[in-house]
């Protein structure tokens, strides 16, 4: 099996792929990016917090790309146990019959390409849980 690298550094691969956030030790605010301080309380220390992989769709859209022949994609905000996560809804038809507000979803990962060194980049999305 090829070497793998996550699309973003807050995606942990392996047997139980999941997301990990930087959690402010003072106020508990969670962030997925590299931090200088806390936007909520200006705190300077963070711990790592695993994010649950089950969630609920709080908002979504279906983007029709400008390039003809490119498939629509479904950006969404997923509520994962109280932490908002951003991702596409995948593994279902990109229409408002198959994607609905409040639907239950779960994290899934998938390859997004392989570089010249043979390393496979792996992204994540959320798929219907039922």
């Amino acid at each position: 099996m090829a070497d793998q690298i996550p699309l973003v550094d807050y995606l942990v691969l392996g047997d139980s792929p999941h997301l990990v956030a930087n959690e402010c030790t003072n106020c508990g605010a969670r962030y997925f990016d590299r931090r200088n301080a806390c936007a909520s309380c200006s705190g300077l220390t963070f711990t790592k917090a695993d994010i649950v992989t089950d969630g609920e769709v709080r908002a979504f859209t279906i983007v029709t790309p400008w390039m003809p022949g490119t498939a629509p994609y479904v950006p969404a905000v997923i509520d994962c146990g109280g932490t908002s996560v951003r991702a596409n809804i995948v593994n279902t038809e990109p229409d408002d019959q198959h994607v609905t507000l409040g639907m239950k979803v779960r994290l899934t990962t998938f390859p997004i390409g392989t570089d010249t060194a043979g390393t496979e980049a792996v992204g994540y999305g959320f798929e219907p849980a039922n």
Binding site: P6, T61, V63, V77, A87, D96, G113
Partner: protein, 401 residues
Amino acid sequence: MANDDIWILGINMTKFGKHPNEDVVDLASEAALAALADAGVTMADMGVLAAGNLMGAAAGIGQQLQKQIGQTGIPVFNVANACATGATAIRTVIMAIKSGECDMGLAVGVEKLSGAGMLGAGMGAAASDEWTPSGRFGAVSGLEGKLGTDMMPGVFAQVGMEYGHKYGGTSFELFARISAKNHSNSTLNPLAAIQKDMTFEQIMAEPMIAYPNTRAMCSANSDGAAAAVLISGEKLRTLSKEQQRRAVKVSASVLTSDPYEEGCQILPNVNTLTRNAARQAYELAGIGPEDLDLVELHDCFATAELVHYDNLMLCPEGGAVDFFESGAPFRTGSTPVNVSGGLESKGHPIAATGIANIWEICHHLRGEAGPRQIEGAKVGLAHVIGLGSACGVHILEKSGL
């Protein structure tokens, strides 16, 4: 010495739309000279200039403009706040006057966008030969389309959907009907980029950009400029009766940014900063939403208009759908919203937008809005929001002088 009493003495907007033969300085000059003429003053009377041009934010549009219409040596502030850039220019001039540094100033916003494609519709970074994590997410690839979207149409679509999820009652058709209201209003505005009436069925049949917003439900990229001359009340009272009569009182001028809330760095929260700005503005002006005779709000997308009914407290919390269904925001309703046609049809030359919406309100308060006049308008509110985020709210009142 502070001047808490601020007025708009003159204001102008160019026709929005395609201006292939004018550059940004031409457009800014046209609006600025017309605003000065409207005010009955000249560049020599100005004590400060604040200007914005987002696409050329590093290029000093203020000084470029001075070099065409009057280099008088006054302080120039080039400002940028995304779609709230024009409102920020006005705020800056108002602060200069309030701080006692001058008694009159000019605010200008200008943009050339026609042919620029959908706002924020950029593609991600090109793939490199070897995956290399970079940036604050350690991303090995551009994330647009792979992990949601940063493009405006998708962001504001989700903003509307999130409201629907929270309070219910929204649908594709509802958003199309909001858009139809604005397109209908635009037929009365000769300065609008698009003046075509459209039914909600026609709007729904337009190409989908980001569900539930079709092309007709997105703000139209346009060229245009707008400019305003601000003055202290003390100075205004030394001018002619006619100038005093046409002046419009700035009862509140507020700028906010988005405070931290859970999820705000996942999907921009355009609600709380608007609500904060509105609350501050109502308090400063000593009026409530029920006193407003008209509102120009930032309908960069049809989905945005809905949430701002609520954010500006034009309705009870969660009541935006009912507010729309009641007919309140129509021209004939109790709180006409976007009688100019809104960004969806009037156009959205980014840095000009935050002054153009104030121009629309002034036009009505002065009784000069012609066929689209809201009769007897005495108080209006202009709202603008730029992602990032910045929100500007101005409450304006008819002169009693």
